[in-house]
Structures are given as structure tokens and as C-alpha cells.
């Protein structure tokens, strides 16, 4: 109560100063302990024997080939899901029809499925004892324990990221700009490329950033479908696991530091894009700029 006299600015709608400090302290302590400390540990362990040992670990042939495979898998999975996201966003964001909400829920489905199960389903279909296993063996095609399996599992787990951002964005934009374009004689394609896509580019980028991070970092699903052959079917997260289990801690954490760097860049991009979007939203609706200064 005496605090009120000391801080005349505090109204009845604020917690006492000591409560505020305590809550901020708990927040910083908890996040520091649970988030910052493990992140720091990655770099600390990676550089434990100095930058030269780190460089040597990162440039091992097996690590480099794991990086290459991760990039290949990502380069296939992300564009596929981005293309799907654009197509789905047009159908689900610009039109209203029965079953639309069901479809939107189904698109989000992979987010709530265990990564291990996401890998398992492809083993059931393409594995040696799966649906198409015998057929594939006859034609000498390898899906599981090889790159195609890695791509499939990655496409599955990263499936919703671009689509959900774009569907939400296109829905929010409404159809007025497109209708204006079409009524002025523009074709569907022209309308999409010249009207819809430019307005959705930030949402697309946001989805791509998240999709890319998950694609490069996925572990559980690819672990199920990978053959775990070093230099051949190991993505970078799988290489981290192998190095770690061989007690090559500097190697494991050096490889992990590359992925942690990716995570930091992802967070940075995400924050920048979110702030950009908030600014656009504020400019768009000038009426509610005063009292709701929300940074999301």
C-alpha cells in the first residue's frame, strides 16, 4: 500500500512494484534456465576445444555430405509444399463452400501427429514388408532407407506451414482486389500473379521460413525412414545423433551448432516479418492505431 505513495503513477490496475519485479524475475529466470542455457551450451560444447577443432568437425566428409543431403531434401520438400500452399490458399482463402473448415483442419493434421508416426506411415506403404514393398523390390527402386523416403517424410511433416499462413492471409484480404482485376478483363493467372501474390508475399515468406526450419531440422520422422548410412542417407540432425552416440561430443555439438545457427536466423527472420506485418496491419486500419499497440 505504501508503494502507492512512492509511485504515484501506479493505478489500481497495476500490480505492486514488487510483484512486477518478481514476475519479471521469474520470467527471465525460467526462460534463461530452460531456453537460453541449453542454446548457449550448444555453442560452448561445440567450441570447447577451440575454433580449429570446430572447423575440423564441421568439415568432416560425413558432416558435409549430411549438410548436402539436408539441403537436397529441403530443396525438394519446401517448394512442393509452397506450391501446394499457394494452390490451397486460392481455393480455401478466396471461396466459401461446404467442407471448407474440414479441409483446413485436415491440412493442419500433420502438426498434431507424432514425428515417429509420420515416418512410420511411409514404412508401412513403401517398406520391405509394406504395401508396395515387393513391387518396388522387383523394379529395384528404393524408397525407404533412401532419399525418396527422406523427402516423403519431410514433405509430410512440413505440409501445413506455408498453406496455413497463406489461407489465413488470403481469407483476410477478401476478394475485392481480385474481383476488380477480373472485371477489368484480367485473366485468372494475371490476377493471381499481379494482384494476389504481391499482397501475399510476406505471408508466403513467413510460411517459407517456418517450413524451411522444420524441413532442415526434422529428426523423428526422417530417423524412421533413413537407413542411417553415414555419408549416404544421414541428414544433418541424424548425423548429430550418430556423432553423439559415438561420444564424439565436439563433433556432435559442432554439427548441432550449424542447426542452432539456423534456428537463430529463423527466429530473427520470423520476428522481422511479424513486425513488418504488424506495421502493415496498422497502416491498413488507421482507426485502431492509438490504443492497441500490439507487437505480435
Amino acid at each position: 500500500m505504501s508503494a502507492r505513495g512512492a509511485h504515484p503513477r501506479r493505478g489500481p490496475l497495476e500490480e505492486p512494484a514488487w510483484v512486477r519485479f518478481a514476475l519479471i524475475g521469474i520470467t527471465l529466470g525460467f526462460l534463461g534456465l530452460f531456453l537460453l542455457l541449453p542454446l548457449t551450451a550448444v555453442f560452448f560444447e561445440a567450441f570447447r576445444k577451440g575454433p580449429i577443432a570446430w572447423w575440423a568437425a564441421v568439415t568432416q566428409p560425413d558432416v558435409l555430405s549430411a549438410v548436402r543431403l539436408t539441403l537436397v531434401v529441403t530443396a525438394i520438400a519446401v517448394p512442393l509444399n509452397a506450391a501446394f500452399g499457394l494452390v490451397a490458399a486460392w481455393a480455401l482463402g478466396k471461396f466459401r463452400f461446404r467442407g471448407r473448415l474440414v479441409l483446413i483442419t485436415l491440412i493442419d493434421l500433420p502438426l498434431s501427429i507424432s514425428p515417429v508416426i509420420s515416418g512410420l506411415v511411409f514404412v508401412l506403404i513403401f517398406g520391405a514388408r509394406g504395401w508396395f514393398g515387393p513391387t518396388l523390390r522387383e523394379h529395384d527402386i528404393k524408397v525407404i532407407f533412401d532419399t525418396p523416403g527422406l523427402v516423403l517424410a519431410t514433405v509430410f511433416v512440413t505440409f501445413p506451414y506455408v498453406a496455413r499462413e497463406l489461407v489465413a492471409h488470403l481469407e483476410e484480404q477478401g476478394t475485392d482486389p481480385e474481383q476488380a482485376a477480373v472485371s477489368l478483363g484480367a485473366s485468372g493467372w494475371t490476377t493471381f500473379w499481379r494482384v494476389t501474390l504481391p499482397s501475399a508475399k510476406w505471408a508466403l515468406l513467413y510460411g517459407l521460413v517456418l517450413c524451411n526450419a522444420r524441413a532442415m531440422g526434422e529428426f523423428g520422422a526422417v530417423s524412421v525412414v533413413s537407413g542411417h548410412v553415414r555419408g549416404e542417407t544421414n541428414t544433418l540432425p541424424l548425423e548429430v545423433e550418430i556423432l553423439y552416440n559415438e561420444y564424439d561430443f565436439v563433433g556432435a555439438f559442432a554439427a548441432a551448432s550449424l542447426l542452432a545457427l539456423l534456428a537463430i536466423v529463423t527466429l530473427l527472420l520470423k520476428t522481422v516479418l511479424e513486425r513488418h506485418e504488424a506495421r502493415i496491419a496498422e497502416r491498413g486500419s488507421g482507426t485502431r492505431s492509438g490504443d492497441t499497440e500490439i507487437s505480435r
Binding site: L124, R129, F253, A260
Partner: protein, 285 residues
């Protein structure tokens, strides 16, 4: 194609072309990548006879793994509800230096590959780690015990609770708090009687999301858990073990059980949430 466009109903959407084409492609791709593969899981589990399905799930090792997974997931989600609520409240309501950086950091568990989280948490909480070495003299062992699993699941679940609560706190009507204060309620009473009930639905949703995610988590847990059968073996690891023994049906049965548990959790919590909404609706408004 024409019919489905007409099905779209509203005159204002009918002008735009491409509905049939894009919807067709969407449904096709969704079926190929998600729906058909998932149906394989259920088909495989259904290939077991009932007694065999039940026997797979009643196996001592499977029961232990499922119990541990559900228990650790619930504990982690509960921890996140307490600390996540404090974090969300602090980030929305208070100004302090570095707030934006802290806010961005909350998403780290989303962005950090789970394998990296796993080895990092193990390094920190192992007996010779930064925190583990502090806890060891107290007789507390985190890594390679069920406690370690809870730590890992807390790590990956945190953003779900915080990110669900933040918009709810932002949307709180200041008028309610003002009314409560002007009626003579102290700040604590206002928080307890006005703010908390209004945030309860979001908190429950956050719990459900964190819980569902934790049930299926694999990467961040396997390194810290020790993976001892009957003691620290989680359900998703058991799925992989079964797969490695080419027991596809057994793996699918556990997979189906995990999916059903996650669904049950979501349904239960959905019911609780509706109850909470109805209650808070009668007391607050």
C-alpha cells in the same frame, strides 16, 4: 467444376476463376501426402485381431511406456501452465529492457531442431553439466530419469502455452478490471476473480496443445531419457523399436493408441473448456 463453383454460393465469389482446379489439386495432394499414408496406419493396426491388438497394448513394456508418456506429458504441460502464464503476462503487460528479444526467444523450441534440443538439454542436466552438477549434491538426478523426460517435454511445450495466452491477455477488456477496481476490489482479488476466469479457456487450450505435442515427442527426449525399458522408455521410442524388429503391426497398434490418447486429451479438455466458458460467462458478465 461449374457445379462446385455454384456451390460456393455467394455471388461475390463466383466471379473469380480457378475454384474447381485449385480445390481439386488441394484435395489430391492432401490425400496423397497425408490422408492415404495415415489410413495405412489404421489399416495395418486393423489387420491385427482384437485379442492380438489388446495383447500388444497390454504388454508390460507398452503399458509402462504409455503410462510414462502420458504422465510426463501432463506434468510438463502443467509446469508450462504455471510458468507460461507468468511469462505471457510479463511479456504483454510489463515493459522491461530486452522484452522484445525475450519475446522472440520464446519460439526457440519451435525453431531449434529437436535433436539439438535433446543433446543440449542432456549436456546441461547431466551430472557433470551446468545445472546437473548443482543438483547432484542434493541427490537430484535429472538426466536419464523420468525427471529428465519432463524437463525435455517442458522445453518443447513452452511456446504452445505462451503463444496461446498472449493474445488472450492482449484482448482482455480493461473495462472489466477497471469496474472491479472501482467497486473496491484489491488488485489480487481482481486478478483472481476477473482476470483468471477470463484467461482460463486459453490456458486450457495451451495445456491441451502442449500435452498433445508432448505425447508424440521423440527427438528432444531420447537423448536425456536413458531409454531403459519399463523405466524411462517413451511410447514413440517403442514404436521405433518395434519397427526395427519388423513388427509393423505392433508399431501401428502403439501408434494408433498414441493418436487416440492425444485425441482423447483434446476432447476432454475441449469439454472442460466449454464448462469453464459457461461458468466464467455467468460470473464475469
Amino acid at each position: 467444376m461449374v457445379r462446385s463453383v455454384r456451390g460456393a454460393g455467394r455471388a461475390r465469389t463466383r466471379v473469380l476463376p480457378g475454384f474447381g482446379l485449385t480445390l481439386g489439386l488441394t484435395v489430391t495432394y492432401l490425400s496423397l501426402i497425408v490422408l492415404i499414408p495415415l489410413s495405412a496406419l489404421f489399416a495395418k493396426a486393423a489387420s491385427l485381431t482384437w485379442p492380438k491388438f489388446a495383447a500388444t497394448l497390454m504388454d508390460e513394456r507398452v503399458v509402462a511406456a504409455l503410462k510414462l508418456t502420458v504422465g510426463a506429458s501432463a506434468a510438463a504441460a502443467a509446469i508450462n501452465c504455471v510458468f507460461g502464464a507468468i511469462v505471457a503476462w510479463t511479456l504483454v503487460r510489463y515493459e522491461f529492457p530486452g522484452r522484445r528479444i525475450v519475446d522472440a526467444l520464446v519460439d526457440l523450441p519451435f525453431a531449434l531442431p529437436t535433436a539439438v534440443s535433446g543433446i543440449a538439454l542432456t549436456a546441461v542436466y547431466a551430472q557433470n553439466g551446468w545445472i546437473g552438477s548443482l543438483l547432484a549434491p542434493l541427490g537430484i538426478q535429472v538426466a536419464f530419469t523420468p525427471l529428465g523426460i519432463v524437463v525435455a517435454l517442458t522445453f518443447i511445450g513452452l511456446p504452445f502455452v505462451v503463444r496461446t495466452l498472449q493474445p488472450a491477455i492482449q484482448d482482455l477488456e480493461h473495462e472489466f478490471e477497471e469496474a472491479s477496481a472501482s467497486l473496491g476490489a484489491g488488485r489480487w482479488t481482481t486478478v483472481r476473480r476477473v482476470v483468471a476466469p477470463a484467461l482460463l479457456p486459453a490456458l486450457v487450450t495451451g495445456f491441451a496443445l502442449a500435452f498433445a505435442r508432448a505425447l508424440g515427442e521423440y527427438g528432444s527426449v531420447v537423448f536425456i531419457s536413458g531409454n531403459m525399458p519399463l523405466e524411462t522408455e517413451i511410447a514413440s521410442l517403442l514404436v521405433i523399436t518395434k519397427l526395427e524388429q519388423y513388427d509393423y503391426a505392433g508399431a501401428s497398434a502403439i501408434g494408433v493408441a498414441m493418436l487416440i490418447l492425444a485425441l482423447l486429451g483434446l476432447l476432454l479438455i475441449h469439454a472442460a473448456q466449454r464448462l469453464a466458458v459457461r461458468r466464467s460467462g455467468s460470473t464475469v458478465r
